[in-house]
């Protein structure tokens, strides 16, 4: 408080007027941050220590929800495992796939605008609609994928009815949104100075060497961004998992993702307190992982100096 008056006092009338105007402009954003983000986050944190069914007032239970999570809820560990496997598969595949698409979209070919539009279009499809389409494609009886497999003499698979294949199908479904990452990679690729690539070519560097020693290092800040977004997104996978596996994560809980576990506890089992505890754990896990990625970035992300 002592700082504020002296900072304010040192400013002339014009500067104070500008500061007031600036504060007024950011006020709506600040209010929405407090009401729509900060308050729900703090409320969730408080609810995680209560027994709360939404309708009746919460009852304080201390660490009971966290103890239950770790010792008396097998579905907690199942959903953690499923989400981890999904992340480990979907994130690398998504990054490699979107980078590959971006490299293709960075070529000088006729009709490039059309290709870029087509690559991005699936991103605009509503997740429910795209999930239902995929379910039809991967239907074990009469689905397009099994029909194609059988055409080339391969056996039909159970896909979403087989616990071995249900998660891979979810991962494949996640690749539907490659266009979003590809667009960001494309922007990064176009920032790379052509002169560097030309000079390397003149010095005898082949395409792979130019990609490995020039393009990839200069692209690392964009890779970092896409990696963080992809990891956060994969931890939050919900709509496709819920539509495909329902609230039980069928078959055999193989599609029970952490967000689905939170959702069913909150709105199907009326255990909002426990669901809040799960949400807090998810928040902390994503926070720790994000910090770890940023910390590791010192070792592999190129930063231009001077």
């Amino acid at each position: 408080m002592a700082l504020f008056p002296s900072w304010w006092a040192r400013r002339g009338p014009m500067q104070r007027r500008e500061a007031r105007a600036g504060l007024l402009f950011v006020l709506p954003w600040v209010l929405s941050l407090l009401l729509l983000t900060a308050y729900p986050v703090l409320a969730t944190f408080y609810m995680s220590f209560t027994d709360y069914n939404v309708v009746q007032p919460p009852t304080w239970v201390g660490l009971h929800n966290y103890r239950t999570m770790l010792t008396a809820d097998p579905a907690f560990w199942t959903s953690v495992r499923n989400t981890a496997v999904y992340t480990l598969l979907a994130v690398p595949l998504g990054l490699v796939g979107s980078l590959g698409l971006a490299l293709l979209l960075n070529l000088s070919v006729r009709g490039l605008g059309v290709y870029r539009t087509l690559v991005y279009l699936p991103v605009l499809a509503p997740p429910v609609a795209s999930t239902i389409i995929f379910m039809g494609m991967f239907a074990p009886d009469g689905g397009l994928i099994n029909a194609a497999l059988q055409q080339v003499g391969l056996p039909a698979l159970g896909w979403l009815q087989d616990p071995t294949w249900s998660k891979p199908v979810l991962v494949i479904l996640s690749l539907w949104g490659l266009g979003a990452g590809a667009l960001i990679f494309l922007a990064g690729l176009q920032e790379i100075p052509q002169a560097l690539l030309d000079a390397a070519a003149i010095d005898g560097a082949g395409p792979w060497q130019r990609f490995r020693y020039i393009t990839l290092p200069l692209l690392t800040p964009v890779i970092l961004f896409n990696l963080v977004i992809a990891v956060i997104g994969s931890f939050h996978v919900f709509t496709p998992a819920l539509i495909i596996g329902g609230t039980t994560g069928k078959p055999l809980e193989s599609t029970l993702m952490f967000m689905v576990h939170i959702y069913r506890n909150a709105f199907r089992y009326f255990a909002m307190g426990y669901a809040s505890a799960l949400a807090v754990v998810l928040f902390v896990a994503v926070l720790v992982l994000t910090f770890a990625i940023f910390w590791s970035a010192r070792a592999w992300v190129y930063e231009a100096r001077g």
């Binding site: 309708v55 009746q56 009886d141 009469g142 069928k250 809980e253 709105f267 089992y269 009326f270």
Partner: protein
């Protein structure tokens, strides 16, 4: 009509608008209520039923309903597709006993006791089971006749052993594909209470507030089903499910194989019989009572209601109940014409027939089938009466999957589900929430 809360009796005082929701519904289901509401207004001019809210858009219905109850602005009345007992246990619904006493149609004695039990929690009634589709075993007459098997309803198997022997007459595999199925033994969580009751047991003992999932008769019931699957269906439930939709109704866009004459017998509910799968001109079928298990001695049936409830915090309790009472005794007749959910109230005439079935199969057939389903409703076993219904359903589904995919034996899978369900139940009765 008894006056409750702060609402004035209908027909007296200023006009009131009652907000009415449904969880959704295909075709004209929701619009049908607007038609019923217009007729209702003629009898109750001061009670206006607002346009029916059909579902909750992209959001899940129960989620939205709970949020509105918590916020203090719920609809005045709503249909539920989930057990009222669960919501009642959380203090989300208005008790209706006082209103039911003075009702025209919705008095307690006008409902089948087993069906009304699904609306009761700790001695109070929190909903009206306006419709309760009952079920039976559907069978394909032509497939029976082709194999020289007597197809009269009274000749249908009376025991599980007889059903199992009959099923083998039909089942046919071509490599790894199940071409034709006789009867696939019980594998859905919602129907399991029926099979448990047929074997002389139950899954949930409401009177003693106990789950009995791992009782010996239930373990025996599932062991029987697993042995059946092993012997007739190669023990590979995944291969069975890959070969088609064997559930007797459309699922995720897949039509049931009954339409292609690939299934001889399947459990079906009364509302299915007006769907294209059952009204095809060339498909000849009938329905029969459930056979009894080794541990049972009574051919019970099951049901699946639409429930009418009044959320806590409603502003017009009496007027909302007047509307629900009307729906129970009068409005349901209009509802039934195109959507044959069986009216559960005993004051509703028992000669109502679904239009689609009459058109497709003739009035005599429709009358016989509806009479059968009404008898089945009278023989219904208690279901849907647990305050942790949805949690228990998920646990039972999990246990069934473990058994069907051979991850666990019936005893172990049921024991795990029993522990989880009883724990959740004890918590509800201990904390009252």
């Amino acid at each position: 009509m008894a006056a409750c809360g702060t609402s004035t009796p209908p027909g007296v005082g200023e006009p009131v608008t009652v907000v009415f929701w449904t969880p959704g519904g295909g075709g004209d289901f929701c619009a049908r209520f607007d038609t019923i509401a217009k007729d209702f207004r003629k009898s109750y001019p001061t009670i206006h039923i607002g346009p029916t809210q059909c579902g909750a858009g992209d959001q899940e219905f129960t989620e939205v309903l709970l949020a509105r109850i918590a916020a203090g602005n719920p609809p005045d009345a709503t249909i539920l597709w989930t057990s009222p007992a669960a919501l009642a246990a959380r203090g989300s619904l208005q008790p209706l006993d006082d209103l039911m006493q003075a009702a025209q149609y919705a008095q307690a004695e006008n409902w089948p006791p087993a069906v009304l039990a699904s609306c009761r929690f700790q001695g109070k009634t929190y909903g009206l089971p306006v419709t309760a589709g009952s079920c039976g075993l559907w069978y394909n007459l032509e497939m029976f006749e082709q194999r020289g098997i007597p197809a009269d309803r009274d000749d249908f198997p009376k025991t599980w052993d007889e059903l199992r022997r009959l099923s083998k007459e039909f089942t046919l595999w071509k490599g790894d594909r199940l071409e034709i199925a006789g009867f696939i033994p019980w594998h859905t969580a919602e129907d399991l209470p029926i099979w448990s009751a047929l074997n002389g047991s139950q899954l949930y003992d409401a009177a003693n507030r106990r789950y009995t999932l791992d009782a010996e008769p239930n373990v025996a019931m599932m062991t029987y089903a697993m042995e059946w699957l092993e012997q007739e269906y190669k023990g590979d439930f995944a291969k069975v499910m890959r070969s088609g939709n064997w559930e007797g109704h459309e699922i995720e866009g897949r039509q049931p194989v009954t339409m292609d004459q690939r299934q001889a017998m399947v459990l079906t509910y009364s509302w299915n019989i007006s769907t294209p799968a059952y009204t095809q001109p060339m498909l000849r079928w009938d329905v029969a009572r459930f056979p009894v298990g080794p541990g049972g001695n009574q051919a019970v049936a099951g049901y699946w209601p639409n429930w009418l409830v009044i959320p806590k915090g409603t502003r017009h309790v009496v007027q909302a109940f007047t509307w629900l009472d009307y729906l129970s005794g009068v409005g349901v007749k209009e509802w039934f014409r195109d959507f044959p959910d069986l009216p559960a109230n005993r004051q509703v005439p028992r000669d109502l027939l679904p239009v689609a079935l009459v058109t497709a199969k003739g009035e005599a057939f429709a009358r016989d089938i509806m009479s059968f389903f009404r008898e089945q409703l009278d023989a219904a076993t208690p279901m849907w009466d647990s305050p942790v219904q949805d949690f228990a359903t998920d646990q039972i589904k999990r246990a069934l999957e473990q058994m069907l995919y051979k991850v666990a034996k019936p005893r172990d899978a049921l024991a795990e589900a029993q522990k989880a369900c009883q724990g959740a139940l004890d918590k509800v009765f201990k904390t009252g929430a």
